[in-house]
């Protein structure tokens, strides 16, 4: 870039159309290669080796991958994330779609206020969100526990083995519902106004119009958000990492695959195996996203 700036100031050397795109891409691509491509290649290389005290570092080929495929600590985490995703994604996106349609219908008071208010949790770091909900869930001094005590009801137990996954899912819904709502709302606003006039002339109610016309029209957007949600879900880390402080017996060090990779690398110093775990997780992300896209396309066709 310094060259280009100098060029501009002096106005002498002329950047031509054929050189320009490479010049514009240079800063981003240089960093992209240094901090994305290179680390990935390096991690892939690592995953093919094994370091032991006795033998030092040895090439082991696919051995680490074969180990991941039969490692219950990894697959337990993947199964947990499937449970988590099957619960959290439909609730989050269902709510986002419902509220986007309500906001778009124009039949509400305070439309702009609600749209912004629902988005606010997205601005809260996931660490802080987990921390605040963690306090709210607390059985002794959390307000829900306090309310139950006041009314002599059994205290809600948010942090037990059977409920904690739902409690974490709730945090994720809270964080990202508004983000998806904004995306849906923008897609709904892009639908031409005359479609609504035509459908009301045909005697369709607002609800029929929303479900039969608007919903199919924004389906491509919905599919994109589902894929992003799948990718996000499979990377779950911060929320359980923070909440293990509250439920150390339940959230173990391989609670989610990312958590497992982190523990392997920084507690056990097993960088090689950790890299293999990350790659298999990436593979799971790719396969699940791809299968979902296939299913979505088949239904659309």
């Amino acid at each position: 870039m310094p060259d280009a700036v100098a060029t501009r100031r002096r106005g002498r050397v002329y950047v031509t159309k054929s050189v320009a795109p490479y010049l514009f891409l240079l800063p981003f691509m240089a960093l992209f290669i240094a901090f994305l491509i290179a680390p990935l290649c390096y991690a892939f290389g690592l995953s093919l080796f094994k370091t032991t005290m006795v033998a030092g570092t040895q090439f082991v080929g696919a051995a680490n991958y074969l180990k991941v495929f039969t490692d219950p600590s990894f697959w337990d985490g993947v199964v947990l994330l499937f449970k988590f995703g099957l619960m959290q994604i439909p609730i989050m996106l269902g709510l986002a779609l419902l509220y986007a349609l309500i906001l778009d219908s124009g039949r509400v008071y305070g439309r702009n206020f609600f749209r912004i208010a629902f988005f606010i949790p997205y601005a809260v770091p996931s660490v802080i969100a987990a921390l605040l909900w963690g306090y709210l869930y607390g059985p002794s001094f959390g307000p829900f526990g306090q309310l139950a005590e006041f009314f002599h009801l059994p205290k809600p137990q948010f942090l037990l083995d059977g409920t904690i996954l739902g409690s974490i899912a709730n945090i994720a819904v809270w964080e990202f519902m508004g983000y998806n709502l904004i995306i849906y709302f923008a897609a709904l606003q892009a639908i031409p106004q005359d479609l609504e006039e035509a459908s009301s002339v045909d005697g369709a109610t607002g609800l029929q119009y929303a479900l039969r016309i608007k919903l199919p029209l924004i389906m491509p957007t919905v599919i994109v958000t589902i894929i992003f949600s799948i990718i996000g879900t499979l990377q779950l880390f911060s929320e359980p990492y923070l909440m293990r402080n509250l439920a150390p017996g339940i959230i173990n060090s391989h609670y989610t695959p990312n958590f497992y990779a982190y523990t392997l690398a920084f507690t056990n110093q097993q960088y090689n195996y950790s890299a293999a775990v990350s790659f298999v997780l990436g593979g799971v992300v790719a396969v699940v996203s791809y299968v979902f896209m296939l299913l979505a396309n088949r239904r659309a066709a």
């Binding site: 992209f32 994305l36 390096y42 601005a123 770091p125 607002g206 509250l246 990436g282």
Partner: protein, 293 residues
């Protein structure tokens, strides 16, 4: 006839408007509970945090004391964390937005060798699990002695692939090829065309990427958690989570609770303010790309 149907229509319109607004208000209450909780809690002393109802104020207004504790605890390290967070987010946000604008412009307005492949790589980057990147970045940066420096957080945060995608889409829409062609006919160089003609029209897209990248860095946890190990370099997210773990473990850290509450409030206010001030940008931007920040 027309009049009858119109009144029926407007009565049902008003009715459904009432119920739909109630539905919105219900979700608003849910959204607001944790925010209200942190506001209420940051006004309480430690004793009141445990002894009074969590979702209402206690008689004793302890807010200023909590703020003072927050900024003096451990020799005032929290202000250091706050400055770190601001430094990391501003530098990464501006840099990421600038580089994404250059790259998006190149992808939108030029034909060149390797265009399809490189754009596909940028798009595919969203699928990569964080650990797959952050752990090798840690290992590579430790070889060149950059671990536990501000660069360890800033440099990786400058790579913001969703921003490139967004700027390409934005440049496709907002910037006509004729305008650029006109500049070329006038004999202007490509760099001159970009800075004097294109960039002005791309500014709203630039602002969108700026705020998204800024917030992504402000809220990031995993990257600084792995790449920084001295407390002096922590951003707020890592520092606060350490205090939180200390407070929760019960090993003499219980006095920290009110400090953690005040710290949480202080750390979310700037981001919420940024979103409110720049709402016209991110709303359009998220809609345009459906991009995950």
């Amino acid at each position: 006839m027309a009049i009858v149907s119109k009144t029926a229509n407007s009565a049902s319109f008003r009715n459904s408007r009432r119920w739909l607004t109630v539905a919105l208000a219900l979700y608003f209450i849910y959204t607001f509970i944790p925010i209200f909780y942190v506001i209420v809690s940051s006004t309480k002393s430690n004793a009141d945090l445990f002894g009074t109802f969590g979702l209402w104020f206690s008689g004793d207004f302890h807010f200023w004391q909590n703020l003072q504790d927050l900024f003096t605890y451990q020799d005032g390290i929290f202000s250091r964390w706050l400055l770190n967070t601001i430094l990391y987010s501003v530098v990464s946000g501006v840099g990421a937005a600038l580089f994404a604008t250059f790259a998006g412009y190149a992808f939108s307005k030029f034909e060149f060798v390797g265009k399809k492949l490189s754009f596909a790589l940028v798009l595919g980057a969203v699928m990569i699990p964080q650990t797959a990147l952050v752990i090798p970045i840690f290992l590579l940066l430790s070889k060149v002695g950059l671990v536990n420096t501000p660069w360890a957080v800033i440099l990786p945060s400058l790579v913001f692939p969703p921003g490139v995608f967004l700027m390409k889409v934005y440049a496709d829409d907002a910037l006509s090829n004729e305008l650029i062609e006109a500049g070329r006919v006038d004999g202007a160089g490509e760099v001159h065309i970009f800075f004097n003609i294109a960039f002005r029209l791309l500014t709203p897209g630039f602002a969108t990427v700026l705020i998204l990248a800024f917030v992504a860095t402000w809220n990031n946890y995993f990257l600084p958690l792995v790449l920084l190990n001295s407390s002096d370099n922590f951003p707020v997210t890592v520092g606060l989570s350490q205090w939180y773990a200390l407070a929760t473990s019960g090993s003499g850290g219980a006095v920290l609770f009110s400090i953690v509450m005040a710290g949480s409030l202080v750390s979310i206010v700037p981001v919420i303010a940024a979103f409110l001030i720049m709402q016209r940008y991110w709303q359009g931007g998220l809609g345009a790309g459906g991009v995950k920040a």
